[in-house]
Symmetry: C2
Amino acid sequence: MRISELSAAAGVPVPTIKYYLREKLLPEGNRTSATQASYDDAHLQRLRVIRALIESGVSIAETRKVIAALDAPPPTPYELLGVAHAAVAPGAEDGIDTAEAEKLFAQLGGEADQCDPAQLAGLAQALRNVERSGFQIPPDVLTAYVAAARQIAEAEIAGIPTDSLESVVRYVVLGTVLPEQVLLALRRVAEQIVSAERYGRDAG
Amino acid sequence: MRISELSAAAGVPVPTIKYYLREKLLPEGNRTSATQASYDDAHLQRLRVIRALIESGVSIAETRKVIAALDAPPPTPYELLGVAHAAVAPGAEDGIDTAEAEKLFAQLGGEADQCDPAQLAGLAQALRNVERSGFQIPPDVLTAYVAAARQIAEAEIAGIPTDSLESVVRYVVLGTVLPEQVLLALRRVAEQIVSAERYGRDAG
């Protein structure tokens, strides 16, 4: 198909597609003339993945890394998770204190060699950002977060497909990055439901 | 205290403080001369809240709204949630189909009048962004998300303090916005733990 047809099929404007081509997120089409190229279903699928990542707030640079993981899968689910996590995890300050994060890591059921230091540092940074505001997450709420995170991860990892390496890669990388906003949206809706149950919509 | 002392106490550079003053996120200090002003503990607390919000990825415009809610609290926890959610929830396309979001809303235990349409639309948009990528969240995983969101919300709403209106406002607004990154970081760490348990760090 032509770029205009690719644009219509994916619902992505032509100038945006050209931008992705320049940024090497999307591979070149097959040249059919000096000014035209032809694109296939693989381009369409890739374009949908790129758009979903970028709309989920992943940067161009990190999208490029996720895409690279889709093209050249590292061998283990654990390493794939590393790629996916690097794409969405914010960095951490140098030398951040990970003591609290390590406690939560143990509560999650982790053993010493199961978590990479960058992930622990990312958790420590998130905790630090909250603490700096003067806000404290109550212990019962933090316990609920830990239990929920463990349950979610169990369901997600149990769902890793076994039919092909490509589907493992897609599942792990996309399944880590893309549902984050779904999870946060569900939490917000649940907060409204429980708040209405407990306090009513009108009660002060 | 002087602006330089405020800067040292909060760990926020003076030019950043001046920017927050210009943006009216931080109220002016008390003028002590033509070029100097004095700041108090309320400024320091507010500055910590602003920094935490901005480091959590909340925009300047939305930070201003959260701050306004802290200064002039609307009367109900439900309305406070609305302010907090508006600060962090991404918008949705016009006329987005909310059928799937409504199903999840019912699974969360919601009744017809408990959720505002903007939140449902936000959930629908998050689901749509995932769907567009060609990735499907497996039904068991989605069920785990729903159960986790409900448990989290119950713990959070149960923890709403009762000692003063100001602490209710702080808890609801900051407690909604700030822990999001903690929750996502916990999920990532849990994914690594469960993946290592199930597949090992080295298994292909």
